[in-house]
Amino acid sequence: MIDEIALVKDLQNNSSKEVAFRTLITNYKERLYWHIRKIVINHADTDDVLQNTFIKIYYNIESFNKQSKLYSWMYRIATNEAITFINKRAKEQHTDITTYYKKVANSLQSDVYFNGDEIQLILQKAIALLPEKQRLVFNMKYFDGMKYDEISEILETTVGSLKASYHHAVKKIEHFIKNNTD
């Protein structure tokens, strides 16, 4: 278990920043990768966003005020980078977010980096149709097993609001799965 306090201290010190940054990447790359992947879906896009996230962390670490956990702060940056990326892609394709997500989810079937069965594909399509907040909360709670308190710190939303979002998300996903399976 990495000592976050010590790591932040090294990151905010010019003489130790480079080494500390490498340590940071090694320890958090996978967790952040899978979080971003669930938002942007596609591996190549995830790679772009992940690298941009770490670059942003590098340039902004001095402004990390230690009022939240380092991981929550990084997770928040990753979430915002991923959402910005999706919004930009949708705009480039002259489409709205929901339509963009539907397109991406539909392309999963032929994606070499997706080895899911039919029900997993249906689940991803259901998630793609959710509003942004519900999608985020569902992915973080259901797949990542995060607690509401942790999600609240990352998304800067109240626990009550998150619970409501999750409740709606689960209902919608269940409805979609029922309508798309025998």
């Binding site: 490498r22 690298q51 997706f114 899911g116 259901y142």
Partner: protein, 180 residues
């Protein structure tokens, strides 16, 4: 229960007053039904996303990311300065739009049958092409507090940077930026 146990029980009761020491988080019982409902539904959902990644992807990721950082401190300073300048441009660009609206409104007052609502983006873009933005002019329409808050002088922004920003961003977004 024998006398000894009863006596012990009474002793305990006297000490702790049978008060329940445990508590629950706020709203726990109110949300309990919903929680159980969700868990029953989740039982039917697949447990993983089925996304995968190549075995070698995470190896050397550190080197790939670090290679994108500036090589020397001088370059880092330039990057930071550029980032600072680019943060100022939305204000300047939004001010350009207000300048356009202000000037056009004045002209419209003297023309019947034409109103502000009939202005289109193409009107603004034409105006930009035929009236190169001068950052000194823009400063006139900006709130004084924006000029005071930044130590950066607007005359240092390249006019081309402002025009490029305006052309690649939605104009209503720029107006909202200025309002904030």
């Amino acid at each position: 229960m024998n006398k000894e146990s009863l006596h012990s029980e009474q002793f305990i009761e006297q000490k702790v007053n049978k008060k329940q020491p445990f508590s629950v988080s706020k709203g726990y019982f109110e949300n309990f039904d919903s929680t159980i409902y969700q868990k029953t539904k989740e039982q039917n959902f697949p447990k993983t996303t089925a996304f995968k990644v190549s075995d070698t992807y995470f190896k050397n990721l550190e080197d790939r990311i670090i290679s994108k950082l500036p090589k020397n401190k001088k370059t880092l300073k330039v990057v930071r300065f550029k980032k600072y300048v680019l943060n100022i441009i939305p204000f300047a660009a939004a001010a350009a739009i207000l300048l356009f609206i202000g000037l056009t409104t004045y002209n419209f007052k003297n023309n019947s049958g034409i109103d502000l609502d009939s202005l289109t983006e193409s009107d603004f873009e034409y105006w930009l092409e035929t009236n190169p933005i001068n950052t000194n002019d823009i400063a006139i329409v900006l709130n004084q507090n924006i000029l005071d808050e930044t130590p950066f002088y607007f005359t240092q922004i390249e006019d081309e940077s402002i025009e490029e920003f305006v052309n690649t961003n939605n104009n209503s977004f720029l107006i909202n930026e200025l309002d904030e």
